[in-house]
Amino acid sequence: MIVELIDYLRDRLKSVIKICYGVLASLVVIDAIPSIVDKHHAHTWVEHYPGFWALFGFVACVLIIILSKWFGHQGIMTREDYYDD
């Protein structure tokens, strides 16, 4: 059953991707509606901007990947038998 569901979704990958983009956009839209998302208890002023956390998540992800990979390629990542000599 699990395999069939996954295959079903994979066969319709383009539609799935479109739905995902729709979900992403609606998250930001919902965040901008004060009657749904009450930001009274937000701790900082930046959080009041709609979609702040969406931007934060995306930038965080990109920064983590690029900076970590850059760091890794400065000689931190090495061959698997490095300690075997």
Binding site: H43, G51, W53, A54, A60, C61, I64, I65, I76, M77
Partner: protein, 593 residues
């Protein structure tokens, strides 16, 4: 209040471990489940608050059982994880693995219920010395070296802890394991903290963790990921709550684990890096030290034990079935191991703090405590690390094992299938609990040490979390090529003792051996010849002078003896004759001289 009727839960496990080799056949499996269940019931059912098992040894009063809300929540989850871990390893025929695991849990529970530093130290060492076997039993060539490194680091940590509480005892006369005066820290406060944070794997004292957990046996890693670091969090919450230095240490830890997880190619080592990252939240929570933060640290430890155990069980199942744990040797397995995929995904969503999963109700408490105390930088950086958590554990692990490019060899593909029933049952139990905690918050919140006035399911929190997570997912899929696994290892701070150890060996082999050879040669030329000459002289002297004198005396005595023997004919009249003659001669000499 003294309670005498409480049976120490460690005792049940230790007795069970000692009896296990004598139980064979079908009852063995029942026994394997029974002992952890009895331990759990012992903790859950009979839990009066107070102290028990107080023993007087010389001048010290040792407390083996101090039960309060803090020790209870940790005791509860540790014993629960012991049940799940044992069921997961039910197929393991080697008794020694179960014995090592139970002794390890006994050590952890003993440390949790310890009322003073001596008892804590005793169980602390029991944990280190029993868990190392879970690495050694993997049986690979490198397992032995990894185990020794693990043991050496933990022995060093134990000694630092020992130094700390001995100095504290000398200064204050107090051995009790309670909250220290963290506002006026002394040398001993820092030493105790260092001993504890080594077990919590705080950088730079962390390299033992990915090293050992990546190398442990499949079932061993499930136990190891739960007990050592979380016992350390308990000990920190008990003794160092509110110690400000722990906040930056925790935040660095949360980010450090994330960075190394990006570079990691081995799925179990990646999970190990994320233990460091997640324990970072708990360390920071202990450092913040408010009621909410301590609650958060405990709740996160509770949730973490379950979802991290689940993730190690999922990746362990892949390793158990295929013999592979590297992303570059796996991929596309969803058709072969679908149930394992679902279980691992539940673990991944829990650690990523998705709504309705356990991490959502625990991790956010710590971040909220940071914001409430106006430590904004800590709040934002911990949120950033949580994006990294979802990136790896929620996305990278499932994607590169069950989807992505199929790197499996024919043999790996052939072997891959869902693991034996007992492993699936254990994963099912952990999955259920991860979702149950996420949906029914009162279950966990009612157990926490402080009263809880925190509501995770607010519209703002939901909106914030979903934005962070789903936009992280967007970043992941846009940059997926950058994340393609590479068959490498990452150099970490263990380089210093791994290569340092080699430098020492090289020193011993090359320069020291050279010096030794030179000294030997010099000794041979300069020392040995005169020595032989002197020795030759003394030999001659001994032979001719000493022996000459000794032998000469001996020869003379023998000669005299022989003469005397001849003189002694045995006839009484001759004896009287000679005696009288000599006496007369002496008398005459005396009279006339």
């Amino acid at each position: 209040m003294m309670i005498d009727s409480w049976l120490h839960p460690s005792l049940i496990l230790i007795c069970g471990a000692l009896l296990l080799p004598f139980i064979k056949g079908m009852p063995r499996r029942a026994f394997l489940v029974l002992i952890p269940v009895l331990t759990f019931i012992d903790i859950w059912q009979f839990s009066p608050h107070g102290t028990f098992a107080v023993v007087n040894v010389m001048d010290w009063q040792l407390t083996f059982g101090r039960i309060d809300r803090l020790s209870q929540v940790f005791g509860y989850i540790m014993s629960l994880m012991c049940i799940i871990g044992t069921i997961y390893g039910l197929h393991v025929k080697d008794d020694l693995q179960h014995i090592a695991a139970w002794f390890y849990v006994a050590g952890s529970l003993g440390a949790i219920y310890a009322g003073d530093y001596l008892v804590l130290f005793l169980f602390w060492e029991l944990m280190a010395f029993s868990s190392v076997f879970l690495v050694w039993f993997r049986g690979r060539e490198q397992s032995l070296a990894t185990g020794y490194r693990y043991l050496l680091v933990h022995t060093a940590g134990g000694l630092i802890l020992l130094c700390g509480f001995v100095l504290r005892y000398k200064a204050t006369g107090d051995l009790s394991f309670t909250l220290m005066d963290v506002t006026h820290p002394q040398l001993y406060t820092y030493l105790i903290m260092c001993g504890l944070i080594l077990n919590a794997a705080v950088p730079p004292l962390h390299s033992w963790l990915p090293d050992a957990y990546g190398e442990a046996t499949v079932t061993g890693a499930v136990f190891m990921c739960a007990f050592t670091t979380k016992t350390a969090i308990y000990a920190l919450a008990r003794s160092c709550a509110g110690m400000e230095i722990l906040v930056p240490l925790g935040v660095v830890m949360a980010l450090y684990g994330v960075v190394y997880a990006v570079l990691e190619n081995d799925c179990r080592r990646l999970l190990a890096w994320h233990i460091i990252s997640q324990v970072g939240y708990m360390v920071a929570g202990v450092g913040i030290g408010t009621e909410l933060a301590i609650n958060g640290a405990c709740a996160h430890a509770f949730a973490h034990i379950l979802y991290k155990g689940l993730l190690f069980m999922g990746c362990g199942s892949v390793l158990h079935m295929t013999g592979k744990s590297k992303f570059t040797e796996l991929g596309g397995l969803y058709k072969k191991m679908p149930r394992t995929f679902v279980f691992t995904l539940i673990g991944g969503l829990s650690i990523s703090a998705f709504p309705l999963f356990s991490g959502f109700v625990s991790k956010s408490m710590i971040i909220a405590a940071g914001f409430e105390e106006h430590i904004l930088w800590a709040g934002f950086l911990l949120t950033l690390a949580s994006a990294g958590t979802f990136l790896h554990t929620g996305l990278k692990v499932p994607y590169f094992i069950w989807f992505g490019k199929n790197n499996c060899s024919d043999e790996t593909w052939e072997k891959a299938e869902d693991p034996p029933w007992n492993m699936q049952v254990a994963m099912g139990m952990a999955s259920f609990l991860c979702i149950f905690i996420g949906c029914y918050t009162a279950y966990l919140y009612d157990m926490l040490p402080n009263p809880v006035d925190y509501h995770p399911y607010t519209a703002y929190h939901l909106s914030e979390t979903m934005q962070i997570l789903l936009f992280t997912a967007l970043g992941f899929f846009l940059l997926i090529k950058k994340l393609t696994p590479e068959p490498t290892i990452s150099i970490d701070l263990d380089w210093f003792y791994r290569k340092g150890g080699r430098a020492f060996l090289w020193m011993a082999k090359k320069p020291l051996q050279f010096i030794d050879t030179c000294v030997g040669e010099i000794y041979r030329v300069i020392g040995l010849v005169p020595l032989m000459t002197v020795a030759g002289f003394w030999s001659w002297f001994d032979w001719h002078a000493i022996d000459g004198v000794v032998d000469g005396v001996a020869r003379s005595v023998r000669c005299i003896g022989s003469s005397v023997r001849h003189a002694q004919s045995g006839q009484l009249q001759y004896n009287i004759f000679w005696a009288v003659t000599i006496a007369a001669s002496l008398l005459l000499t005396y009279v006339f001289a």
